[in-house]
Amino acid sequence: MIEVRDLEVRGGLDAQILVGVSVSLESGRTLAAVGGSGAGKTTLGLALLGFVRPGMRKVGGEVCFGGQNLFELPEAELRRLRRESIAYLPQNPASTLTPTMRVEDLVEERRLATSEPTGQLLELVQLPSDRSFRRRFPHQLSIGQQQRVAMARAIANQPRVLILDEPTSSIDPTTQRLMLSLVERLRDDLGAATLLISHDLASVARMADEVVVLRQGEIVERGAALRVLHTPMDSYSKALVSASPDIAVDQPPLAPNTDEPVPVLRAIDVSAQFVLGRGRGARTIHAARNVSFDLASGETFALIGRSGSGKSTIARVLLGLHPAESGEVLLNGCLLPPLLRRRDRKQRAAIQLVPQNPEESFNPRRTVGDGIRRSIRQTRGLSGSAATERLAELLEQVQLEPALARRRPHELSGGEQQRAAIARALAAEPEVLVCDEITTALDTIVQSQIVDLLQQIQRETGISLLFITHDLALAHEFAHRVGVLNEGTLVEIAAMASFVNDPQAPESRELLDAASSLSRTLAARRSAEDDLPAVAAS
């Protein structure tokens, strides 16, 4: 259907983005491209549209569709192909919607004469098709509805090639299932060829027929999806598969590192809210309702929930960044003043944050080392050579090369930025480290390295970790206990091992079902497709 031959793309400073990549998408089949960040997955996906991002250029190779090399087509012809035959759904599908267009116009724009009417398309993505809904603008829709409208647009032109770029990273499980069924429909009815770009191996195992593993622009392994994901040959593929968090893999029972668990931090009946919007349209969001939990010294407590369940607000209340409506936070049995400016130096140092976006948490005009030193000076009162010594210690503790501390934040990779942020938090010698979705922006290999680092630091220092995440599979690898948040309420607190085997609240069961598991998905697919050649046991 569409074929990429020997594609070579270079970026700024002649950096290699893709090197000699050849893949071919077959009608009715799904090919998955997996790999860490910077592997060139998105560049490959965009190349199928005959597009290379500004700052990059195609050096060699071709992309053939219908006997034509896309890169040699005139712009008008290329645009026609993109409109009529190839659909691309980017990482954040809602971002493809023009804010000033109504729902019906957004879908109509993509529709061909032979497509279903707009109303039917909306019903296909399980959206209402009545007039009032069709007249809405994107900002009047929920995120999930926006994603569905974007999907309706993607299928409106009955594409023959469908490119999905990290479709599951920002989408909740229900929408994920819908997307999957839409892809299947396109494949079966129209014989569409699909390229799935993802670092979530479980969703790849569910959807893909074949897999190519990309590493720094090169294909290091290719083959049938079940084979590659079950018995990878290449060392990088092996690392990818083993780094992929898996809820179904049993973890050795973890005990807190201290003999008698003394609560370091206690949240008692904490409620918090914030106001969204202004004036008459303002809405009050109850982000936390009577949330109570303990955090013992040397313990990792995972706070799990969907986006919007109030996880981050609770973290902000603990840190004194958000006023609690009611309730108390105790540190070592002493009441913490609710607001940051009322806390003294010791209290401030005791709870430190590792943020979701580490790059944004460092001043872009100063070096990363400077940011860490600043925390050393403010929280420990060290300066001059004492601070320099401490900085070197911290960098070693987070395994960051000293030379990197002289760089500015945007000059570091995502993993390095996160290490620097951890070093800065440790500079305060805190008792509690609040990690707010710190692995979301990282690929699975770097993600598991960061988690290993945190565990090692915990063993060395006995620090307590509050690990906030929506990734239950990842949390279950190293958290001692888990708390499940649903719409601001803690619905369950349990030891991780018993939680995984026997969840109590219905919301917990839902989360467990949705949690990513490569082994479970592989097993399910293998039993469903008995006709496939048996894969060798590892």
């Binding site: 400073l13 948490s361 460092f362 600043r374 925390s375």
Partner: protein
């Protein structure tokens, strides 16, 4: 062969981590700007004649390089004398407007309720700039500082609005929050985090304001509100000599060109700067 390519990549990568490179176009623009600023400031010292000295009959194109003006004075000398007000007034006024607007904008961005500041600015923003200048002239007379004051008053609403928009994401950024969490004082956060990150966008905006200021000064001169004789400026020279454009066109073209040569490099530099900021 391959090792050569590898070395190249390493060398280039090293450059990226260094300071931002300055493009040759920027250098040329800066040189032009600097040259005209020096000419404007030190022109009176090198002028062949005094600004009021009559050297020939009116509009004599032959008498010197640029001929004579409507009263028979040397155009070249008057060009060299007339640069100061049109350079100094906008520079001083833009600097002050950017400073005041910056303070107001940062305060507005830092305060939760910023309606008071911004609504007052909105009221000022709708008054036409030349009207402000005329009212002030009527009240205080035609003087350099009044012109500067007019420029400041008409610029502040825009510098405030711009600095508020530029400061808002900085004040609510992760790094300012991080600084607050370790107990850094508001003054230190302002000095270390806010001002350095705000400086570039504000400078880009100041460039555009500067051009607006030049045009206001030139327009005031053209409308006859230039500094009183014997002093002169390029704007008044254009209007004084426009009647004799057929006899000695240079008497009008030369001051117009000077305004252009002053504004174009500033405009282009501000654009380049704004693009860098956006990146």
């Amino acid at each position: 062969m391959t090792s050569l390519a590898g070395q190249e990549v390493v060398a280039l990568r090293g450059r990226r981590t260094g300071r931002d490179r300055v493009s040759p176009v920027t250098v040329v623009l800066l040189a032009v700007l600097l040259a005209i600023l020096i000419l404007a400031l030190f022109g009176p010292a090198i002028a062949p004649h005094d600004r009021v000295e009559v050297v020939s009959l009116p509009f004599d194109a032959e008498v010197s390089l640029l001929g004579s003006d409507h009263l028979g004075r040397d155009v070249l000398s008057r060009i060299l004398h007339g640069g100061r007000p049109i350079v100094i007034i906008p520079v001083v006024a833009t600097a002050l407007a950017t400073l005041i607007g910056g303070v107001l904008g940062v305060s507005a961005a830092a305060l939760r309720r910023d309606d008071v500041i911004m609504r007052v600015m909105d009221v000022f923003a709708v008054i036409p700039s030349i009207l402000v200048a005329l009212v002030l002239f009527h009240r205080f007379g035609v003087q350099h500082w009044v012109l500067a004051l007019a420029v400041i008053i008409v610029s502040i609403p825009f510098t405030t609005r711009y600095s508020r928009a530029a400061a808002f994401p900085i004040i609510h950024s992760g790094y300012v929050e991080q600084a607050r969490m370790i107990g850094e004082s508001a003054a230190m956060i302002l000095v270390r985090d806010v001002v350095p990150n705000l400086a570039r966008p504000m400078l880009a905006d100041a460039g555009l304001r500067f051009i607006g200021a030049i045009y206001l000064v030139a327009a005031a001169g053209f409308l006859g509100f230039g500094p009183p004789p014997p002093s002169t400026d390029w704007g008044s020279m254009i209007s004084e000599n426009i009647g004799g454009a057929g006899l000695n066109p240079w008497a009008t073209i030369a001051p117009s060109l000077m305004v252009l040569i002053l504004t174009i490099p500033v405009n282009l530099l501000a654009d380049r700067f704004a693009r860098q900021v956006a990146r």
